[in-house]
Amino acid sequence: MESNKTVIEIRNLVKTFPMGNREFTALNGINLTFTGGEFSGLVGPSGSGKTTLLNIIGTLDSPTEGEALVMRHSVGKLSQKKAAHLRNLKIGFIFQTFNLLPVYSALENVEFPLLLQKMNAASRKKAVMDALDWVGLADKVRSRPAQMSGGECQRVAIARAIVKKPEIVLADEPTANLDAENSHHILQTMVKLNKELGTTFLFATHDEKVIGYLRRIIKLYDGKVSSDEIVTVK
């Protein structure tokens, strides 16, 4: 993954939701560009539109106006099938609530995106073990989500997001349900992945701990970008 390549480009993005008989504007004229290898975050109070923007970048939702280009694909103009394919290959998701598949073991959860890719069993197995190794859970392969702590669950979710070596990882409030120690642990893991694999990370957060790790902070307020700063070396 080469850096300095534009992976996400957002132009004049507007997103409205119907609210009763009126429209509610959740995102109002967003312009942003992300290059490969960035470790950046959307920061803002609850309701500022962070999740909405992340969902559009993740092709799970589409813009009302303007354009969002992800890996040069225009979100909202892709067919369902193409969008699913793009998510499967290029985009990793990490959620506030972990969202592991409850009846699957850690291994099966991490394996899931590769099964969808129809990767062969041998390379699948290796990729899964590598990913679990990365997050330090190689000894928990057989555990079900219910048998693991929140921190462990989120680490499985990270492994699941990165197992396919995606271009972009979208992490929506990944530490909101974790204590400080676990938060730092997973953030360090992600920094390491960012450095070693060159994966682009985009967070949505209002957690100071997360903000401390970001290299670029985009402040959202009322659906608008209020500031966009590169963090210089601490």
Binding site: F112, L115, L116
Partner: protein, 390 residues
């Protein structure tokens, strides 16, 4: 292929919930097959009994004989064709002579059919050998139903009145030699059987009969003038009709059972799609299309039917096999239901029935799994991921 793999993984992962559903479904397989097997066995038995006690393998009717019009009986005698005499003597053909008569049980008058049959016949299961053909008294047989409704006991003397061929009334007493127990009411209710030769004398029609019943051996060639041949199919048409009617009502039962099983699947499916929204949203985020998820949930639901078939085979085959081997004892009360009931019914399972049941359950399981799963295609993935009820 992937869908199947994931479906199996999900089902096994769901553990107890899956197995409960599978168990309920497997029960309906077994019960459907069991009930149908029982009805089938019952029907076959009723028909076999009918052949053994009433119709034989085929009959010749005197051309005027009409079983539904007793007033024709007076003109329905004809000489037994001479070519058949040997087989009659051997008991391979049973000539039966039928007339109307009255008897007087407990002071009432009652019309009955008086039937003459050779005491040495081997065609029907009637215990004709217990009649004493040439005693001075006329010895007679009645069935259990006839005996019960008229309080007849073995050894009773019963007065009969009849008209001979010239229309002259005559009367005599008959002694009850035996009471037979049969499942076939058509040789029992309202009938008294006496030796053929006696009845021929009483009616003054020596050497004549109303009908001839054959056993396994075919009719030899004979002069069939005055006789109409009735094959087994015609003779059992009525019982075949009844069996058809019963299979309709059993099909209704079949459907009700199936409906219950399908309700279980449908319910699980609706509930699981509701409960597993977040899972659905996550699967979409991980790269499945909504239709792939619909397919996955459908296959998952339908797979219950497959697992149930396997489970049903594991405990159902030994159960069903032992039932068909040792029979199912029937309570006596069922006798009053009209169609004859044996004491034991041996269920008969046809491969066709089993295959149709399995295929039918699988198809309906797929449909009832698909119907609720369709909703997934209308779900908004961003809402589903958050587990919001939509």
């Amino acid at each position: 292929m992937l869908t199947f793999k994931l479906a199996i993984r999900n089902l096994i992962g769901a553990g107890l919930r899956t197995w409960l559903n599978v168990f309920v479904l497997s029960l309906s397989y077994v019960v459907i097959i069991y009930m149908n097997g029982m009805l089938d066995g019952w029907n076959r038995q009723a028909k076999t009994d009918m052949i053994h006690w009433d119709t034989g393998q085929g009959q010749l009717w005197q051309k005027n004989y009409d079983p539904v019009d007793p007033f024709t009986l007076q003109n329905s005698f004809g000489p037994i064709p001479g070519e058949l005499n040997n087989l009659v003597k051997e008991g391979q053909i049973a000539p039966v002579l039928i007339t109307m008569a009255s008897f007087y049980p407990e002071g009432r008058i009652q019309s009955i059919l008086l039937k003459g049959i050779p005491d040495n016949q081997k065609v029907l299961d009637l215990p004709t050998a217990s009649m004493i053909g040439d005693s001075t008294e006329i010895s007679a047989l009645v069935g259990k139903r006839m005996a019960q409704s008229n309080r007849i006991k073995v050894g009773d003397l019963i007065t009969l009145r009849w008209r001979d061929r010239n229309g002259t009334f005559d009367a005599a007493d008959v002694r009850i030699a035996a009471i037979f127990d049969t499942n076939v009411p058509t040789v029992d209710a309202g009938q008294i059987w006496i030796p053929l030769t006696r009845l021929q004398k009483m009616l003054q029609v020596p050497g004549e009969a109303t009908l001839l019943i054959r056993g396994k051996s075919e009719w030899p060639s004979f002069n069939s003038e005055g006789w109409v041949s009735k094959d087994l199919k015609t003779l059992t048409a009525e019982i075949d009709q009844i069996i058809k009617g019963k299979s309709f009502s059993s099909a209704v039962m079949y459907l009700i059972l199936l409906l219950l099983a399908m309700l279980a699947i449908f319910d699980t499916q609706v509930l699981s799609i509701f409960r597993r929204q977040r899972e659905i949203g996550t699967q979409i985020a991980l790269g499945m299309t909504r239709w792939q998820v619909v397919k996955l949930f459908t296959v998952e639901g339908a797979m219950h039917g497959v697992l149930a078939a396997i489970l049903a085979a594991i405990y159902g085959i030994p159960f069903l096999a032992s039932q068909s081997r040792f029979g199912i004892p029937m309570p006596k009360a069922t006798d009053s239901m009209g169609l004859a009931v044996a004491e034991k019914i041996f269920p008969v399972y046809s491969i066709g029935l089993i295959i149709i049941t399995i295929v039918f359950v699988l198809i309906t399981a797929t449909i009832v799994s698909y119907l609720p799963a369709r909703r997934i295609s209308k779900m908004n993935p961003t809402e589903a991921i958050r587990g919001r009820i939509q």
